[in-house]
Symmetry: C2
Subunit: 210 residues, 2 copies
């Protein structure tokens, strides 16, 4: 991208991360940790391969991303955020918070990846009963299941199913996101096609708003 050539912190930041796709690449690396090139491609549906290669080079040059040869026997290169890149977490969080209301009226045919759920989970959900035994919620909404679990007060996500989930949430992404963020009531979502197996209290334990 051409520089804005303005002596302003915002303009300088946008010189680095204002390009198309750039912040979405950062999102992938924030949510998934070190990624292979093809992991990034799968998490960024619609990106052209030359653009991904270009952006990774630019981000590396800017000190946001580091490229590393994975230790044997993996034999592939991994892309990961530097500490400077991880500092973009706050930017991604604020943009995500601002964009969250736009998820209320979803367009059809929007792509979806299960791990994107980690964004609202990390920034909205809290364990309101850290004194209680930890809980696990399995979410089935994208192509792959993912798991939400409490770990001494924090709420984490990880890919894959849970061994013994306290609850299982199944349905379209808008319903799952609506319920998790508390925008949609459980009964309301059920009427729209969401399936929830488990104690509603399990859900309330991590939902925002009180």
């Amino acid at each position: 991208m051409r520089s804005y050539r303005q002596y302003c912190a915002l303009a300088k930041a946008l010189d680095v991360v204002g390009d198309r796709w750039t912040l979405l690449i950062v999102r992938e690396l924030l949510l998934r940790g070190p990624c292979r090139y093809t992991d990034l491609q799968s998490g960024l549906p619609g990106i052209a391969t030359n653009l991904l290669a270009d952006r990774l080079r630019e981000l590396e040059q800017a000190g946001v991303v580091r490229r590393e040869a994975a230790p044997p026997p993996i034999a592939t290169t991994l892309f990961q955020l530097t500490s400077r890149g991880e500092a973009l977490d706050a930017v991604v969080e604020q943009l995500g918070r601002w964009g969250a209301p736009l998820l209320a009226k979803p367009r059809r045919n929007d792509a979806f990846r299960s791990h994107w759920l980690a964004l609202p989970v990390r920034h909205c959900l809290r364990d309101h009963r850290p004194d209680q035994p930890p809980i696990t919620i399995e979410v089935r909404t994208g192509a792959e299941p993912m798991t939400i679990e409490t770990v001494n007060g924090a709420v984490r996500t990880r890919p894959g199913a849970a061994r013994t989930p306290d609850a299982v949430l199944t349905g379209a992404p808008p319903l799952v996101v609506g319920v998790l963020t508390g925008r949609l009531g459980l009964e309301e979502a059920r009427a729209a096609g969401l399936q929830y197996a488990g104690d509603p209290e399990t859900l309330r334990r991590v939902q925002p708003g009180r």
Copy 2:
């Protein structure tokens, strides 16, 4: 901008404000309040007039900007942020914080406008002695002077000179920004060409970091 077509809050936010120039237009409206078209042009050196018109239309459509006929006798249209647009303040702040270190090594020929100083001032400076009488610092670094003043605990900026400033800061933007944010010591900046008239304590009262 083409939509990313991803069911993700970050992607949805970038669908609206991810276009080139868009967040800089929001910056102008955040820092200066309601603006005329030509005010925006002067605050966005380098923008093409057709792009400014396009972006304003898109932002209006997205509910971020409102266009209003100014009350007589002004007889001009004013552009201002809606409440949704003002909510982008947090986004601009985080991006500005992230970009601030990039101001340390300035390129020559970067454009500068005095009112851009309001960004670091709003987000970094605090009045550490709200019990004391208010103070006023005049800054002369761009084409026009601007004034920093404490108002019961908060630090504000306004365009124009101060009537009876407690201090006057004169010099190139990198020096002024460096001193205000505390990255540069006053003596260090003086050696580099900054002029400071007044009690150094006046400066310390609002500088960040203790």
